[in-house]
């Protein structure tokens, strides 16, 4: 038999062998099929993981928190570019019944792609009716009623949130964390954050910090009354460093650099800050005159007896530190040279505060807060995850052994049963290889899928075997082919129904179940297209004694 004739005769088996080979390469050769873009990560995992399979949260440990962003949107606003700021101002200055919005709580965006404006409010204390009224109060001729208000925020806002969260996870020094969004039926979106090695409480805290940092000047006004004035906003900070400690002075701080690029009016945030410091007396009479903070007790006294010049570090509206300006810095500001190298230290009471501040400064503020009243969390200790890995292997093994035992009992003929068992296993190997190749992180639900695949796989092989061996011996190729085709009709029909039954799960966001559905559907496809036809060929070879 020439090689071409051989290939023609056994193409189904050859196809199976090829797929098996590729799957094994993907599974066991480090780097395997995957391009080497993540070689570093690959090297780390090689040590403790003999295969290229990646494990998800459910088999590797970690924490996942899903929560929707808080907010409402009105889309397709009929305004011009020069009215954008006016509308935004109207939104946060409007007199809401239960809410007192700040600048960060409202935004008006222009979407370049489809040339439209949208307005958002990030608060759950504003009613849709109030939102509509606030828009109309902007005095640019908008007509909005509460039916135009949609729950949820825009895609841009969600992208910003995800970006901020990813920065925060990285800042916190955690590898392998990720954030993404997931759509629900009602068109709502959840922001999902997954981090290994963090408890739900810690992760929730990381996510619930809005991370809005500013500096207020607390100083006496002309009448000698103490007053507050915001002198530096978080977005005016160009760069910030890591949490640091000054041994000499015993201070925890984060070094920051203020933005000194000139704006439209010729002033940079740095020069404005410098100017404010000089005007308000922080660099002169106020130097060293700030005693409102009791560092031991962590309390502030905002009713001081004598005039105070304090710089307040405020995170999410809460004062975390108050201090006066140092002599060296004041000197530079007075002479006006500071703005050329606009750096200073943001001082905070504790190391933990410094750490939080650094993370918040680096990642910027969350555009919209997340609603933890509607959250879902999952967390798993790595130790238990290892147990689960072992259990899944055990449970899978037991299920496969049962199947194997049943088919041997039923057919009593190893020529039929052994290839049946091997084919079913080949299916699992191909699927595992596929999962490794596309770097699909495996979870418990996928394991359930693998077991379901073995189940349906063996069902179909039983159909093929029975059909082919029906009505006595198979003595010619033609008889075999015709019977095989009949069997294939049933298998195809059954596969189609399984795929239809599980496809809603593969697209709907039902958490755990998606993995199960995807693996089962893939398994059915691999089975029908590759492994089950090959089993037919093997059976033919064994039964027709050619």
């Amino acid at each position: 038999m020439g090689p071409i004739a051989f290939a023609k005769e056994y193409w189904r088996i050859l196809l199976l062998v090829t797929f098996l080979g590729v799957a094994l390469v993907a599974l066991f050769i480090p780097g395997g099929i995957v391009a080497d873009d993540t070689l570093a990560a690959e090297n780390e995992s090689v040590d403790d993981n003999p295969t290229n399979i990646e494990y998800g949260l459910g088999l590797d440990g970690g924490t996942r928190v899903s929560a929707p962003p808080v907010g409402m949107t009105v889309d397709h606003l009929d305004i011009e570019h020069d009215e954008q700021q006016q509308v935004a101002t109207a939104l946060y200055t409007y007199d809401y019944e239960n809410a007192d919005l700040e600048v960060r709580d409202a935004t008006v965006r222009f979407h370049e792609n489809d040339n439209r404006f949208s307005a958002e409010i990030f608060s759950d204390e504003v009613t849709p009716a109030e939102f509509a009224a606030a828009l109309e109060s902007a005095d640019v001729g908008l007509e909005v009623d509460e039916d135009d208000v949609e729950q949820g925020v825009t895609q841009q806002t969600r992208d910003e949130i995800i970006q901020t969260i990813e920065l925060r996870i990285n800042e916190a020094g955690l590898d392998g964390g990720s954030a993404y969004q997931e759509a629900t039926l009602g068109g709502q979106y959840y922001i999902v954050t997954e981090v290994p090695g963090m408890s739900p409480e810690e992760l929730r805290e990381l996510l619930s910090d809005r991370g809005d940092v500013r500096i207020d000047a607390y100083h006496p006004d002309e009448d000698g009354e103490q007053t507050n004035e915001t002198v530096l906003l978080g977005e005016e900070i160009a760069d910030s460093g890591v949490a640091s400690y000054d041994d000499e002075r015993g201070q925890h701080y984060v070094p920051i650099t203020v933005d000194n690029t000139e704006g439209e009016d010729g002033n940079s945030p740095a020069s404005e800050y410098q100017g404010a410091m000089n005007d308000l007396g922080f660099t002169g009479e106020g130097q060293g005159r700030c005693h409102i903070q009791d560092r031991e007790a962590g309390e502030f006294d905002f009713d001081p007896d004598d005039p105070q010049w304090c710089l307040l570090t405020i995170v999410d509206g809460e004062v975390i530190d108050a201090h006066s300006m140092g002599a060296g810095l004041a000197e530079n500001m007075r002479t006006g040279t500071w703005e050329n190298d606009p750096t200073f230290r943001m001082i905070v009471p504790t190391q933990q505060d410094a750490h939080h501040l650094a993370v918040n400064l680096q990642s910027g503020a969350l555009t919209a807060p997340l609603d933890f009243d509607r959250e879902q969390t999952f967390t798993l200790q790595p130790a238990l995850a290892d147990q689960f890995k072992l259990y899944s292997l055990l449970i899978g093994g037991l299920a496969v052994m049962t199947v194997c035992g049943m088919i041997f009992l039923r057919y009593r003929d190893p020529r039929v049963a052994a290839p049946m068992f091997l084919t079913a296993m080949a299916e699992v190997v191909i699927l595992l290889g596929f999962a490794a190749a596309i770097r699909m992180p495996l979870d418990l639900s996928h394991v359930a899928g693998f077991i379901a695949v073995v189940g349906t796989g063996v069902d179909d092989l039983v159909i093929i075997a029975d059909e082919v061996m029906d009505e006595g011996d198979v003595n010619s190729r033609r008889v075999f082919e015709s019977r095989f085709r009949k069997a294939f009709w049933i298998i195809g029909a059954a596969a189609a129904t399984t795929i239809i039954a599980l496809s809603p799960l593969a697209v709907l966001s039902l958490g755990d179940l998606r993995g199960f559905a995807i693996i089962t559907i893939l398994g059915v496809l691999v089975g029908v297209l590759i492994t089950r036809p090959a089993y037919g060929d093997i059976l033919q070879r064994l039964l027709t004694d050619k």
Binding site: D373, Q376, A383, I395, A399, I500, A501, L502
Partner: protein, 298 residues
């Protein structure tokens, strides 16, 4: 050990009415159970934390079950010790139907404060929580998923056979295959979780397998009705019983190991497949026989 063989059933001894009566009666009982449970509790089956909001904790502690029960400010729905090889002092604690998301978040703190640690191991080994509104969302999504799956399956059945009675037979027995395990869950007190929903959807696939096999043998092949039925049964029962055994083993092993997702899938599929055996070879066969011998053919 004896070999596993499929017995030949003498269908000629029973009338169609007799054959269909048993599965239909069981379906009626199942529906009665489900509607009774719906009237009593507001849901046909008990909803687990995935669908009602709540928490599931896996804890490792040397405290006793009674102490675990008292450690939380609300009573857990269930506490189950995990009996895997080499594992001691591990328990799964479930809470369902909590509306207050802060109460849910507080549960793991309560566990850490009130329970004795087992050596160096963390007390809360795993925690899964869903707030009430998240759960409600999940519930709606799952219902839609099941409805779409069932509808798709029905349409496909009609497309495959293009005749009314055999297609209806497939749809009716698939419906019954889902209702009977649901009723079993209501009686056995198994909560509806994402795992059980997956099992129910899998059942649609499995159930149709054996129905298609039977219909195909009877309708699309030449030969005597009883002969065809017997051949279909030989293959079909082998398939279903093999799957049943695999699911039973998986269900029991996973239950002992405390792997809840796999356990519920295994147990529900086992019950559903048993129902499928009955539905296919009593209800479906009788409908097909009626169609073959007495039905009006277009």
């Amino acid at each position: 050990m004896g070999y596993f063989d499929v017995p030949e059933v003498e269908y000629t001894r029973y009338s169609n009415r007799q054959l269909a009566a048993v599965p239909l009666a069981i379906l009626a009982v199942a529906l009665l159970v489900l509607s009774g449970s719906f009237l009593l509790t507001g849901a046909p089956v008990q909803l687990g934390m995935d669908f009602a909001g709540g928490a599931e904790l896996t804890i490792q502690t040397t405290s006793s079950e009674g102490e675990i029960r008292d450690a939380f400010d609300r009573a857990p729905d269930s506490i189950q010790a995990i009996q895997a090889p080499g594992v001691d002092n591990q328990y799964t604690v479930q809470f369902a139907g909590i509306d207050d998301s802060e109460a849910i978040q507080a549960l793991s703190t309560q566990a850490e404060q009130n329970l004795e640690a087992d050596g160096d191991a963390a007390i809360v080994q795993s925690e899964s929580t869903a707030s009430a509104s998240f759960a409600e969302q999940t519930q709606r999504t799952a219902l839609l998923g099941i409805a779409v799956a069932f509808l798709g399956m029905s349409v496909l059945a009609f497309l495959l056979f293009r005749t009314f009675v055999p297609s209806v037979a497939i749809v009716v027995s698939a419906f019954s295959d889902i209702m009977i395990p649901l009723a079993f869950m209501a009686i056995a007190g198994i909560q509806l979780s994402l795992g059980t929903v997956a099992a129910l959807l899998m059942l649609i696939g499995y159930s149709v397998d054996s129905d298609i096999l039977l219909n195909n043998h009877v309708l699309r092949r030449s030969g005597d009705f009883y002969e065809s039925t017997h051949r279909a049964m030989r293959t079909g029962i082998t398939m279903t019983v093999t799957s049943m055994m695999a699911m039973l083993v998986m269900g029991i092993a996973a239950w002992l190991f405390g792997v809840e997702l796999l356990a519920s899938i295994g147990i529900i599929l086992f019950v559903g497949l048993a129902a499928d055996l009955m539905n296919t070879y009593m209800l479906n066969v009788s409908l097909l026989r009626w169609y073959k011998f007495e039905g009006v053919r277009s």
